[in-house]
């Protein structure tokens, strides 16, 4: 197999951007993806089998067969989880990764999100830290992501965001009924409601049409391809250069190193299950927080007996996602307009600055809900079954609004990914093992956020409300998983430097949410893409000097 300049592992939010940036700069690239390439025709509108509601399996990978993970509960007991079960903390396995089927909220983190330790001090028992890069470093790359991926929205009504040079490239998707109900209520509370930025066409953009406002949005591939992910933006551009080859259903076994401790390529199982070697000048790991850490830990050799980049036992630590809390409001009038994407209005007033709380999070209305989502979201004291439950479904499905938000998690070094000593996947590779839990201050913040969501709903006229705020005793990761290959200056306390380059091996990069030091109080996709542009820029710059050959 022909040697190439770069192997990129994982064709998701980050890997797609990296492949495109390197291919455009003239490097030869092989992009390896363990899943398949789905299209708009795979939307299916199946409310029991999609990427968000996975009762009958994951629509966009991985399959339940042969892809287990292990999670360890608070008592230290390990459990094996199927890919469609909650304990698995799944994102996706396909071209586009999570961006094929996400709700497509496309947030910039705020300047304070990159300086959490300086802003608040680290709570006891936490591993809260500042990023080695600032909002200002990322700003041009946020802008590049917004224009190349295609983001609609409007920040003009809120002062709570970092400075920006240009407005978003598309106006917001026209607001639905929930926006009309919630906007005046938020203003009466002195808040600053605005249109959620979304990777969703509101007007024709990038050669594709606008959102047609259907009911099947978050968790589904977009039927009219109006939702923008890496699979319909940067990856086609990468392939169009002629410099990039995408190999799907290709599972990387390990990163190969030479006897001087540099990477020489990867070993992977191709779509027929045959072990292949792809040699390269550099390797970029973009498998998302759980799988990137797993691959480094599974890449053991004489020089790296504990895994690549893991000399100081840092790979896999600081696993975090978002602690979602909020409230449901029940109204004596219809709130449901059957117009997607549903999520439309947000406030960032509560992301920072509450005395006694280390951060906070954005609050927004929920994506359009299907009946299956309402069965356990009925007013307090509604019977769980029987005639009263059926009547309550009729009464409230179209008369309720959910406000939720991603509470920024306080990271903990004990929340981590290791590889399981016993359980292996269908390729015979040791699987991800999750252990540890969420730093408890996160739950305190989450409860305050839930009460704020409830207050907003009451102001909007809700006649009943219920709070959604738990204190789960396992790791939090899921689709917003991050943190396992922390970016930092100190090689003893982090895995990669500010350019996403392993401290230990100069031709291996981790470019995805794994490098997030903290995860903001926002959906992470746009930040993952911005970091991918930022790191690719540095990589291409350094490549021109050395070619990473030594």
């Amino acid at each position: 197999m022909k040697r190439v300049n770069a192997v990129v592992i994982g064709a998701g939010a980050a890997g797609g951007v990296v492949a495109k940036e390197l291919a455009v700069a003239g490097l030869s690239v092989v992009l390896l993806e363990r899943g398949k390439w789905y299209t708009a025709n795979d939307c299916r509108k199946d409310d029991l089998r999609n990427q968000r509601t996975t009762l009958l399996g994951n629509a966009f990978g991985p399959e339940d067969e042969g892809n287990p993970r292990v999670w360890v509960d608070a008592k230290g007991v390990p459990h094996t989880a199927l890919a469609s079960e909650g304990g698995y903390q799944n994102n996706a396995a396909c071209v586009g990764g999570g961006t094929l089927s996400y709700g497509a909220q496309a947030w910039r983190y705020m300047p304070q999100d990159f300086r959490m330790k300086s802003t608040y001090g680290a709570p006891v028992g936490s591993s809260l830290e500042d990023w080695p890069i600032s909002y200002d470093d990322l700003e041009p790359f946020y802008e590049k992501a917004e224009y190349e991926i295609g983001i609609s929205g409007d920040y003009s009504a809120t002062p709570f965001h970092g400075p920006r040079r240009r407005a978003l490239p598309m106006p917001p998707v026209p607001p639905g009924d929930e926006f009309g109900i919630l906007e005046p209520a938020a203003k009466r509370l002195g808040l600053h409601p605005f249109h959620i930025p979304m990777a969703r066409n509101s007007v024709p953009y990038n050669g594709r049409g606008p959102c047609m406002r259907c009911r099947w949005c978050c968790g589904f591939a977009c039927e009219v391809d109006a939702k923008n992910g890496s699979q319909n933006t940067v990856i086609p551009v990468a392939l169009g250069t002629g410099n990039c080859e995408l190999r799907t259903e290709s599972m990387v076994k390990e990163i190969l190193t030479d006897d001087r401790g540099r990477a020489r390529g990867v070993a992977y199982f191709d779509s027929n299950g045959h072990l292949q070697e792809q040699l390269s000048d550099l390797v970029v790991v973009s498998g998302c927080a759980a799988e990137s850490a797993r691959l480094l830990l599974n890449s053991k050799s004489r020089l790296f007996p504990d895994g690549l980049g893991n000399r100081h036992d840092q790979v896999g630590r600081n696993l975090q996602g978002h602690h979602y809390t909020g409230a449901i409001g029940y109204f004596d009038f219809e709130t449901y307009d059957d117009v997607g994407p549903g999520a439309s209005i947000a406030i960032s007033d509560y992301n920072h600055g509450t005395p006694g709380l280390v951060g906070g999070g954005m609050l927004a209305n929920e994506f359009i809900r299907l009946p299956i989502h309402t069965i356990d979201r009925l007013p307090p004291n509604t019977p769980r079954w029987g005639l009263k439950h059926k009547q309550a479904m009729r009464a409230w499905h179209k008369r309720s609004i959910v406000i939720v938000g991603p509470t920024q998690q306080i990271p903990s070094a004990d929340a981590r990914v290791t590889v399981d000593p016993n359980v292996k996947d269908k390729w015979g590779l040791p699987v991800v093992r999750f252990s540890g839990n969420v730093h408890p201050h996160t739950f305190d913040i989450g409860e305050v956020q839930a009460n704020r969501a409830e207050a907003w709903l009451k102001e909007a006229g809700a006649i009943h409300t219920s709070i959604m705020a738990g204190r789960p005793d396992s790791v939090s990761a899921g689709q917003h998983q991050a943190g396992t290959c922390r970016m930092g200056i100190d090689p003893k306390a982090s895995v990669v430097n500010r350019n996403c380059q392993l401290h230990d091996v100069d031709n291996v990069f981790v470019i995805d949410s794994s490098v997030h030091v903290t995860n903001g109080g926002f959906n992470p996709a746009l930040t993952i893409m911005a970091i991918a542009y930022f790191a690719s820029d540095a990589l291409v710059h350094n490549w021109k000097g050395t070619g990473f050959r030594s």
């Binding site: 199946d46 409310d47 029991l48 406002r213």
Partner: protein, 181 residues
Amino acid sequence: MLSKRKPGLLTRRQFVAAGALGSAALAIGCKARDRGNWEYLTEEQAKTLTAICDQIVPTDEFPSASQAGVLNYIDRQLMRHYRRHRHAYRHGLEDIETASRKRFGAELISLSQPQQLEIVSDLERLNPSFFNLVRSHTLEGYYGSPRHGGNRDAVSWRMLGLAEPPIRGRAQYDLTKGSSS
């Protein structure tokens, strides 16, 4: 299904072949185990499950769980994604029949509605893991997509007032929606 097709649409040869196949399949099914219309469930199990499901979603001016095809949903999934729950169903349904006969001297399906409710309420209290499994599967079958064999003719979606088939692309032409404020 061949049996639902009008004979007139088939050639005579196809019709004969279809009939022969149909009765052969039925005969084998009966001999092996009384499966009747079901892929996995026996007729006895289906009767018990019908009674439980119809307590979870009873009939009113809209169909009950079984009337909406929830048993099709559960039966099909026990051959597919829910194969891992077969053991729980086999034993759970057997236990509830035992309880029904012990308490009221008859099978669950033949009891009065208040008696069935009593048995199912007991099940929720005494064997919550099995009850919660059946509750989840029943509600999935009733409120989930018709493509999986439940929610016949999208009856629950119509009940909730959702347009079916759904209106698509409305925002492109209906200016009264999605343009306020």
